[in-house]
Amino acid sequence: MREKLLVMIEELCGDEIVREDPDIDLLEEGLIDSLDYIELLLKIEDEFGLKMSPSELTREEMATPNRIIAVVEKRLA
């Protein structure tokens, strides 16, 4: 699952850096914008059947690849 999520995030950012540094702040570095974030939520829904509302978590709680992976893992557990 970690791998699948990393692929998704990498596609959205168009940058391999998310693999090298999975603690990078995606918003602060301008790697994803508000629309990318919505796409990510929709992809997570399609891939894992996990529905997430855009306002459910703060952007800080979903700021880095590692945090996103942790949230999804926790929800699916």
């Binding site: 508000s34 629309l35 919505i38 929709l42 529905k51 509302s53 855009p54 306002s55």
Partner: protein, 395 residues
């Protein structure tokens, strides 16, 4: 009494915050004291107009009942789909009528409810998140407290219900409370300097040098009005946030040095933050989600542009159904769309965006685009255009 508006308020506030501080220091819950303080200030604000108090109670009660009914319906699997738009419309209906009445008659009659603009955001947020399935229960006392919480009643910042409830339910450890109280006090004092000292200076300059019908005077007006607006609103927001801290509520910040923004998107992350983030989470995100899901529009830039324009148009209308507010919304919508196009398509932008000279130019341009926006917002732009057209015999 006017909230954050006159000496008697500040004196009452100082007196009322002392027991709050003692309770916080003793690690006692602040919820009930904060509720009592809120009731006191709400009653004092409207003591000369008891009917206004009644209208406000009816409004809050109406929104609460609406949310409770919706919550009951959505526990069924399919109820939500059909009922959701109806309940969302019903929750923003009082504010919509309020805005229409003001646009038509100049006053809102029985819907002239203090804080209705800001309370509606909280009521709508709760309806939307019930539909999302992330709000599963509502307690009447907490709902009412969130709605009329006196520090933010008049003009925000716009808090979120789940965050607010978490704050009022927890007992804050002494050390953390002391830090919060210290920060809160600093924010209140800084807010007073912003609003009562600096904003007043800009206001005086604006009135003295900016009111003539010349181009130079209009330019002076544009600068002084922009800075007056910032210091007035940011000052008020700081005081509201600071008061919240002393009552154990970490009210979100509303401003973060907006005039240092290097592009218009950054500006909206620094100016009236709780408004723009509310719109991002409950308007922009929802429109883009529906557009992507429907599959009718494939191009990402088109999707973003449609959502940005609707988002900012709603922002403009929320300020009032007056020509210049709507124009202000459209103006920022167009700026955000143009920036989105540049950000995505321009090779020049991508190449130079981190260059120092580019950042300086970009900051300067953004600042002036923003000031022109405030000029529109003030109503002076449309009045000026009307004056020019009349003097040329065009209307």
């Amino acid at each position: 009494m006017q909230l954050y508006g006159e000496n008697i308020f500040f004196i009452s506030l100082a007196v009322i915050l002392v027991p709050a501080f003692i309770l916080g220091y003793c690690e006692k819950p602040l919820k009930h004291y904060g509720m009592a303080a809120t009731v006191f200030f709400v009653v004092m604000t409207m003591k000369d107009k008891p009917q206004a108090l009644l209208y406000m109670l009816c409004f809050v009660w109406y929104e609460y009942i609406l949310a409770q009914i919706f919550l009951r319906i959505t526990t069924g699997e399919h109820g939500s789909r059909v009922a959701y738009p109806a309940f969302l419309i019903l929750s923003i209906l009082p504010l919509t009528l309020h805005k229409i009445l003001i646009a038509m008659n100049g006053n809102a009659g029985i819907l002239a409810i203090i804080g209705i603009s800001y309370m509606t955001f909280k009521a709508a947020q709760i309806i939307i998140e019930i539909s999302d399935g992330i709000i599963k229960e509502l307690k009447p006392d907490e709902y009412i407290y969130l709605m009329i919480f006196f520090p933010t009643l008049l003009s925000g910042p716009i808090d979120r219900s789940r965050r607010f409830e978490e704050d009022i339910r927890r007992t804050i450890p002494r050390e953390e409370y002391l830090e919060m109280a210290g920060n809160g006090l600093l924010k209140i004092l800084l807010g007073m300097v912003y609003k009562l000292a600096i904003a007043s200076v800009f206001y005086l300059l604006m009135k003295k040098f900016g009111m003539d019908r010349t181009l130079i005077s209009a330019a002076i007006y544009m600068y002084t009005y922009g800075f007056y607006l910032f210091f007035d609103f940011a000052g008020y927001s700081l005081m509201a946030v600071g008061t919240g801290y002393l009552l154990g509520v970490k009210v979100p910040d509303n401003f973060n040095k907006p005039f240092l923004s290097k592009d218009i998107q950054e500006f909206w992350n620094r100016w009236h933050i709780t408004l723009s983030h509310w719109l991002r989470d409950y308007v922009f995100s929802r429109i883009t989600m529906d557009l992507i899901r429907s599959g009718k529009v494939k191009d990402k830039l088109t999707i973003a542009s449609i959502a940005l324009m609707i988002n900012m148009l709603i922002m403009g209308c929320w300020h009032g159904l007056t020509g210049y507010y709507i124009l202000y919304g459209l103006y920022h919508g167009v700026l955000l769309v143009l920036f989105e196009i540049i950000r995505k398509k321009s090779a020049f932008y991508k190449k130079h965006k981190k260059d120092k000279w580019f950042m300086v130019v970009s900051w300067f341009v953004t600042l002036h685009l923003v000031l022109v926006g405030f000029f529109i917002f003030s109503g002076r732009f449309t009045r000026g255009v009307a004056f020019l057209l009349r003097s040329h015999g065009l209307i």
